[in-house]
């Protein structure tokens, strides 16, 4: 039991690490040539030299853009506690210009202990922001604007971006705009008047390489002596983990994971699952937990739901597939029923059901989203007459029939014969 309690504590330490983006990316601090050091240099120099700046961080989701920004801001807050105020906006919440202005004014008020008026108009807020920028510039205080989902701010009139970047053209102001986006062409979305005021500094984030990943995994999973657990447990744990790391099977796991998605967040998800599957009796991570995590991440939802179908539902899918093979441009439930009846008449199986029952099975398929209506026309028409289409490939259907142990042989034959014809 003692082992279990140590294990559960170790597990919660590991989970805490995996869910803390600051810890995940903290390895970046030590190495010199990373986006972290570049961004830090850029922002720190504009803080110390009292100038305006703007930069875009671009890269796919889950590569640590926001985490890097957070780390840089944390460091700067420690170095220059009084010279920085941070305004955070998110394109998903504040893409509306008025709303964004209001949010900026609110955060500025909060930062400088001013009372914020909810009733202020958008123009008032804009004016307030420009005044504040000037005041902060005079006090040698840098205002940092972090705009997440930057591409969403570029929809519409871009009034917010324009007034922000325009305010930064004056000598008195002192501000840095950091935009984060997963659209690599985010700067191309800007209007001409906005683009000319933007500095065109861009930092590109790419998914980590296999070596980086291995280093990241070690950084995340190896317990240090100061984690509050018994020293003996920690050395045992670490030596076992080291054995797993040099195992070829583990490398195979990482490789197949990276083939699908090599972003940091995907790796984190994998490790999180593996840590959650930790064997609580022994209290150590084992190869099985990694393999189990991998297999649970590589599920194919379509195949899974195909496996869940009843025989009648499979019949309907096969009928639909036959109709598609006949190159019938569009078909609906009544034509499926015709095909179904012809099959039942030809083979005399025991699975002949009335059309009510078949219709319910048809609805189940719609529910599972294995089939869908072909068009949105005829919304007020009866469901039987709306044209439908298959959302699965013939390969998936054939494979699921093969895997299904209860599936009657007739169905296989019906599907196979189609192919040779």
């Amino acid at each position: 039991m003692a082992a279990a309690s140590v294990a559960s504590r170790a597990q919660s330490v590991l989970r805490g690490r995996l869910c803390d983006p600051g810890f995940v990316h903290s390895a970046l601090r030590s190495s010199p040539d990373t986006n972290y050091s570049k961004l830090k240099y850029l922002v720190a120099s504009s803080v110390s030299e009292a100038c305006n700046n703007s930069v875009l961080l671009l890269g796919p989701r889950g590569c640590g853009k926001a985490a890097v920004v957070d780390m840089v801001l944390d460091d700067l807050k420690k170095e220059h506690p009084d010279a920085i105020s941070v305004i955070r906006l998110n394109g998903m919440l504040h893409s509306d210009d008025n709303c964004a202005m209001k949010e900026i004014a609110r955060q500025l008020c909060l930062e400088h202990q001013l009372s914020f008026s909810k009733m202020a108009s958008s123009d008032d807020n804009t004016e307030f922001m420009i005044d504040m920028l000037r005041e902060c510039g005079l006090a040698h205080k840098t205002v940092l604007f972090v705009l997440e989902e930057f591409d969403l701010f570029a929809q519409g009139k871009q009034r917010l971006l324009y007034s922000l970047l325009d305010a930064m053209q004056s000598l008195t102001s002192q501000a840095v705009v950091i935009g984060l986006s997963c659209r690599l062409d985010a700067d191309q979305l800007l209007e001409k008047r906005v683009r000319s005021r933007f500095s065109h500094r861009k930092l590109l984030f790419v998914p980590p390489s296999l070596d980086d990943i291995q280093r990241l995994v070690e950084h995340l999973l190896i317990l240090t002596q100061d984690s509050g657990l018994r020293a003996k447990y920690i050395t045992d744990y670490n030596s076992r983990l080291a054995n797993i790391f040099i195992d070829n099977k583990f490398k195979g796991c990482l490789n197949s994971l990276m083939d699908a998605d090599a972003t940091t967040s995907n790796i984190l998800r994998f490790l999180f699952r593996a840590v959650s599957y930790m064997d609580m009796e022994s209290g150590f991570l084992s190869m099985e937990s990694f393999q189990k995590a991998l297999s649970s991440m590589q599920r194919q939802p379509k195949m899974d739901s195909l496996q869940d179908l009843s025989i009648l539902e499979l019949y309907i899918l096969v009928c639909m597939h036959r109709l598609e093979d006949k190159e019938q441009s569009s078909y609906n439930f009544t034509s499926i029923m015709k095909e179904y009846r012809s099959i039942q008449d030809a083979y005399k199986t025991s699975d002949k059901y009335s059309s009510t029952v078949c219709f319910r099975a048809f609805e189940h398929l719609l529910d599972r989203e294995l089939i869908s209506f072909g068009d949105n026309r005829g919304r007020n028409q009866a469901l039987e007459y709306r044209s439908v289409k298959l959302l699965i490939s013939s390969r998936e259907l054939a494979q699921s029939l093969k895997l299904n142990t209860t599936c009657p042989a007739v169905l296989q034959k019906l599907l196979d014969r189609e192919r040779y014809m």
């Binding site: 926001a66 609906n332 009544t334 599972r368």
Partner: protein, 528 residues
């Protein structure tokens, strides 16, 4: 104070037990687990041991309550707690126990969650209602009355700000708060659904509170949300449909006479299982069948031996075939909640037509006047027959001459007929203007005058002055038929400007109606 978990889900049995999440719940007599972490190991070990025993028994209780969901339940427990956890997405078909497993697992999670906020998107039909429900569940119990007076945020930005405030207060002590979003798939058909779903799926990025665990439940597969997730994709847990053995176990639970029921299931379950694998539908289908099965038995408590079993099997055998084809027919006078059970099963059937097939037809005779029946028949004919043939079918001789018109058909015309047939199948019943309906109505009523002699409009069909009477009456009947969904009124034709109608009944029902008024319907149906 009992609002933290599912005030709206009272229909599910999970909710009947005391609320697991509320901090003041009486079952929560254990000391808070966080301070124990700092105890010295020896003292902790004894306590942990006792707790370990306790834990194992609760896990067993959980697995007992969720038959056939062993793997999913253990996965849930492992992924949900302890607190810093990545978001979780439970997916799987309808009636696979997703919500039940989740709510039960949340009750067994150690350390106990501080608060569980549950929002089923199906019962909160707008973003505003969703926001309001979440915020009231998260607000402290004492100020719940005050929070009603607070303005409910309708903009996402206000909502996230309010949510962060509420959560920051709750999770300050280091205890976990669980936010559960059920029926995520229904939100896809809402207005601006993309925006709301993106917001919900990216809450993890937006809130950045490690003590808040987000759980999504959806019957749609994760690919449906792939483009909407933020930097952190949720972990998936798949709930497969139950297998035959699992279904049998579920059905057997708590049955008064297990021996009898199991011998019944060994006969009846397999064939029904070929049709549907959903437990809710199977239960509904098996229940009347079991009553039929027990009929020959005098004593329901008796344990059947081999001979009785054979006798019962012979008794039930003919009914089984019938039941297979009648599965899912809703009885006419089903009680309201029974209907609900059915409609919750089929989600996409909002437009399902009512008059089509169900057992309704047997009761029809008692509910319709003769003229309404004729109207229904004429609407059926107008929908099925091409308008160009009306003259041929309904001329003065009463359509009896259409046999003479048979011509030999060439190969080309046969092909054409085939494509026509295809087209017919695709298009479904046609629409028709009111004038055509009334014309056919007059024709068929005049043909069977004898049948109509006892109907109020016989004399007025001929007399010019009585025409208005007939019209008003027929229009009334027509609107009744439309309201009960036997006919549907489609959008008005842009050229003619008048409304067009379509009949929704199928041929079986039409023939049945025709038989009840002795009308030779088959003579008038145009066959290709």
């Amino acid at each position: 104070m009992s609002q933290p978990v599912t005030p709206r889900r009272t229909t599910r049995s999970t909710v009947s037990a005391p609320d697991p999440a509320s901090p003041t719940s009486p079952s929560n007599s254990r000391p808070k687990p966080t301070p124990r972490r700092q105890l010295i190991p020896t003292a902790a070990a004894a306590k942990e041991e006792e707790e370990g025993e306790h834990e194992r028994s609760t896990i067993d209780a959980l697995l007992e309550a969720l038959p056939g969901r062993r793997a999913q339940a253990t996965d849930l427990l492992r992924l949900l707690a302890p607190a810093p956890a990545l978001p979780l997405l439970l997916h799987g078909g309808a009636a696979t126990g997703k919500t039940r497993a989740l709510l039960l697992a949340l009750r067994h999670v150690r350390p106990r969650p501080r608060r569980v906020a549950y929002a089923a998107l199906r019962s909160l039909p707008s973003p505003r209602a969703l926001f309001a429900s979440l915020l009231t569940q998260l607000s402290p119990p004492s100020s719940s009355s005050a929070s009603f007076r607070l303005r409910v945020p309708d903009k996402p930005s206000d909502f996230v700000a309010a949510l962060r405030d509420a959560l920051a207060g709750l999770s300050a002590q280091g205890e976990a708060v669980y936010l559960v979003f059920d029926n995520l798939e229904v939100a896809r058909s809402w207005d601006k659904s993309g925006q709301l779903l993106t917001l919900l799926l990216r809450l993890y990025d937006l809130l950045r509170l490690p003590q808040v665990v987000l759980v999504y439940v959806s019957s749609a597969t994760p690919d449906a949300y792939y483009t909407m997730t933020g930097s952190v994709e949720p972990n998936h847990i798949y709930f497969p449909d139950y297998t035959v053995d699992e279904v049998r176990d579920i059905l057997m639970r708590g049955h008064p006479n297990p021996k009898l029921y199991s011998s019944f299931l060994s006969v009846a379950l397999k064939p029904l299982f070929r049709v549907t694998r959903r437990v809710d539908e199977l239960v509904a289908a098996l229940e009347p069948l079991f009553r039929r099965y027990c009929e020959p038995l005098g004593d329901l408590k008796s344990v059947p031996d081999e001979s009785i079993r054979r006798r019962l099997f012979e008794h039930i055998q003919p009914h089984l075939g019938v039941a297979l084809n009648e599965t899912f027919s809703v009885p006419m006078r089903a009680s309201v909640d029974e209907c609900k059970g059915h409609s919750s099963g089929g989600k996409a059937i909002s437009k399902r037509q009512f008059g089509n097939r169900d057992s309704l037809s047997t009761e029809l005779e008692f509910h319709m006047s003769v003229s309404a029946k004729y109207l229904l028949l004429s609407a059926f004919l107008a929908s099925r027959n091409p308008a160009t043939l009306d003259a041929a079918l309904f001329d003065s001789t009463g359509g009896s001459d259409n046999h003479k018109r048979k011509r030999k058909s060439s190969q080309a015309s046969l092909n054409m007929k085939d494509t026509m047939l295809e087209e017919m199948l695709m298009k479904g019943p046609g629409t028709f203007p009111l004038e055509r309906l009334l014309a056919i109505f007059q024709c068929i009523t005049s043909v069977s005058e004898d049948a109509l002699s006892d109907v109020e409009c016989t004399d007025s069909t001929m007399a010019g002055s009585g025409m208005t009477d007939l019209m008003s009456d027929v229009l009334l009947q027509l609107s009744t038929l439309c309201n009960s969904n036997f006919l549907s009124k489609s959008r008005s034709c842009p050229l003619e400007g008048s409304a067009r109608y379509r009949s929704n009944i199928d041929e079986d029902l039409a023939l049945k109606v025709a038989r009840s008024v002795n009308f030779p319907l088959s003579k008038y149906i145009y066959r290709r």
